[in-house]
């Protein structure tokens, strides 16, 4: 069964450093998403991406964040200068379509980001 994969599973970084989280969505999916979950809190939407551009972003997704689809398979989330409060589990998701009831989003296993 096709699945969303994410690397690395755990990333430890120093405050102020740049990190890139990588995702390989399901191959025939066209819509991509990043969500995060701070420990003990709910899963929160960050950004959605379609046709090589951002479709929607939340207020969390400020200028420190960027997304990119550098090739036909990878979807990346970059945090330019990490802060302590960026420590969270980051989930990538993809869906085949963007609208309607068939828009089931499939999630990857997550990358745990720890900012020291």
């Amino acid at each position: 069964e096709p699945e969303v994969t994410q690397t690395p599973s755990h990333q430890v970084t120093q405050m102020g450093q740049e990190v890139i989280l990588r995702c390989v969505p399901i191959s025939n999916h066209l819509y991509f998403y990043w969500y995060r979950q701070i420990l003990g809190q709910k899963v929160e939407f960050l950004v959605s991406f379609y046709n090589n551009e951002i479709s929607e972003k939340s207020e969390i997704f400020d200028d420190q964040f960027s997304v990119e689809r550098p090739d036909g398979s990878n979807f990346t989330l970059k945090i330019r200068s990490t802060k302590l409060e960026d420590s969270a589990m980051y989930f990538c998701a993809s869906s085949e379509v963007g609208t309607g009831s068939d828009n089931e989003q499939f999630f990857g296993p997550g990358t745990r980001l720890t900012v020291l």
Binding site: Q41, T99, S101, E104, F107, P109, G110
Partner: protein, 114 residues
């Protein structure tokens, strides 16, 4: 601002009994609701969904009920099995154009005791 609320952080149920997980929402613009299950060290896995034009959707042991007037939905698992032990997230979204994001609740940890 919690648009999707799961007020019970945890629930324990005996194997074979019914598990009922509840979810409330405040945004009347939501018209599609989903339940995801999450095991430790894994991402959320889609379980079942319901459109706002329905009040019930059933898939095997899982049934979701929607009460639009009360802005309330519930997930019933019958019979509960130890493998159902996981965190269950309620999520909601709009069925409009574009890839609409999911709005999640905080989750309810279900423990099914053998």
């Amino acid at each position: 601002d919690q648009q999707v609320k799961q007020n019970s952080p945890s629930l324990s149920v005996q194997e074979g009994r019914i598990s009922i997980l509840n979810c409330d929402y405040t945004n009347s613009m939501f018209d599609y609701f989903l339940w995801y299950k999450k095991y430790p060290a894994e991402g959320p896995t889609f379980l079942i969904s319901i459109s706002s034009i329905k009040d019930k959707n059933e898939d095997g042991r899982f049934t979701v009920f929607l009460n639009k007037s009360a802005k309330h939905l519930s997930l019933h698992i019958v019979p509960s099995q130890p493998g159902d032990s996981a965190v269950y997230f309620c999520a909601a979204r709009y069925l409009d154009s574009g890839n609409t994001p999911l709005v999640f609740g905080k989750g309810t940890r279900l423990s099914v005791i053998a």
